[in-house]
Amino acid sequence: MTQQKVFVTGTGVISSLGNTVETMFKNLIQGKSGVQTMDDWRIYNGLNSLLMAPAQPFDISAIPRKKRRSMSRMAEMGALATMTALQQAGISGENPWQEIDTDRTLMIMGSTTGSPKTLEDHFKKLFDKGGPESQTSTAFFKIMNHSVPANVAMAVDFKGPLLSTGSACSTSSQAMIQAWELIQAGVYDLAIVGGADEAYYTSAAIFDTVQAASTGYNDQPLESPRPFDRDRDGLVISEGAGIVVLESEKHMQKRGATPLAEFAGGAYLCDGYHMSHPIKDSMIHSMNLALKRANITADSIDYVNAHATSTVLGDRQEAQAIGSVFNHRPPVSSLKGHFGHSLAACGTIEAISSIEMMNAGVVIANRNLKNLDPECESINALAENQEGRYQTILSNNFAFGGMNTSFILKSCQ
């Protein structure tokens, strides 16, 4: 059986830089940052990182109450981004699924955990009451592992196969790669794919605890994060949702849908080594396997969209890994300096940004890159946006648990 090519036919975002792809990309081009100082967080004992990039305000009143009541903030963002992506893919209107075989359509998305805010509320009440007295009926639906996809499915009336991926910061990249595998193999024709996460002080605290969060720029929010820069000091959490519609070539052509890019392949690997310590050999393995599975040689990659969250160790390991895989020194940038780190959403938000870069003929520079870390010199780290013809892009996402993911997008222009 011939393996199916897979294309992106719809995209939707809720992000710190805008809630339409157009606005978000305009802000990326202009080098804007979504990062703010969270003065409200000063009350939390032991929290040293006070920076966060909140999503732009959004309105969910169009979703009926009974579908909305079980949604946490992350599910709300996931639902809105999904609606946008489906609309762009031409799956909308009164009966959006009428022309689609939903048995052969996969919804696959996830989040790092369930809603951290609801988790806190739930357990605070549990402890205060000395038991489960007076819990609301919907709390669990906001914190269960498949809360985002289950709520999104309800919001868009999707009745079909549903999978929840959860691998922290590689959640949505893993979802895309898994969807690609399954569509390519002919199991599904179409997939609604992505990730969502809400930013809460407890999320910042997780990174702060392992000394991976930025703490030195609390009163200069625009100066952090700073991927690959000598003076970086850690990541800044963000939030949002990124959703893509992936579709087999045959199905796309049959529907008359427009391809935005080809999803050419990818790899998701566990390093089996360390929960939090990034290691370049595993990153190299991930990128090489992605290239092999996409049947693409390293020298045909025109740009690398790095994961680089602005941690001292992670950026160095990734730079050295990229330098090792790509001898031709393609331009490299991370978008974490603009968005912050949107955790489970970052893979798809960065994929969508990369598609926009290819289609616009410009790659976005690393924000706040003033002095390249000498230990990152093996890469061509962009300090300025660079115009050109970018046909093939590789994007990385790494996560706690030793997760390393890489995927490849090809232009359709």
Binding site: R65, K66, R69, S134, Q135, T136, S137, T138
Partner: protein, 84 residues
């Protein structure tokens, strides 16, 4: 608390908790059919009533409730019983 104050408090719970309009809150309105609340909403209604009016209604007792007026009466009885 007099009955009308109690009714106003309960109606406020219905408006804030379930996004109902004041015009929908007629005593004879059926909770499930007219106000379109379901089993999950019924559980939450007990929690919201507890938070707003500081009373604890037994879930078993609440199962007999069909109309909004039944809610008023059940809550009134719980308050009276707790005062005795």
């Amino acid at each position: 608390m007099d009955k009308q104050t109690l009714i106003n408090e309960i109606n406020q719970v219905m408006i804030e908790g379930f996004e109902l309009q004041p015009s929908q809150l007629k005593p004879e309105a059926k909770i499930m059919e007219d106000l379109e609340l379901d089993s999950l909403d019924a559980i939450d209604m007990l929690v919201f009533l507890e938070e707003k009016i500081k009373i604890k209604v037994d879930a078993e007792t609440f199962r007999t409730v069909k109309t909004l007026e039944d809610v008023y009466n059940v809550v009134e009885k719980v308050i009276q019983d707790s005062n005795n």
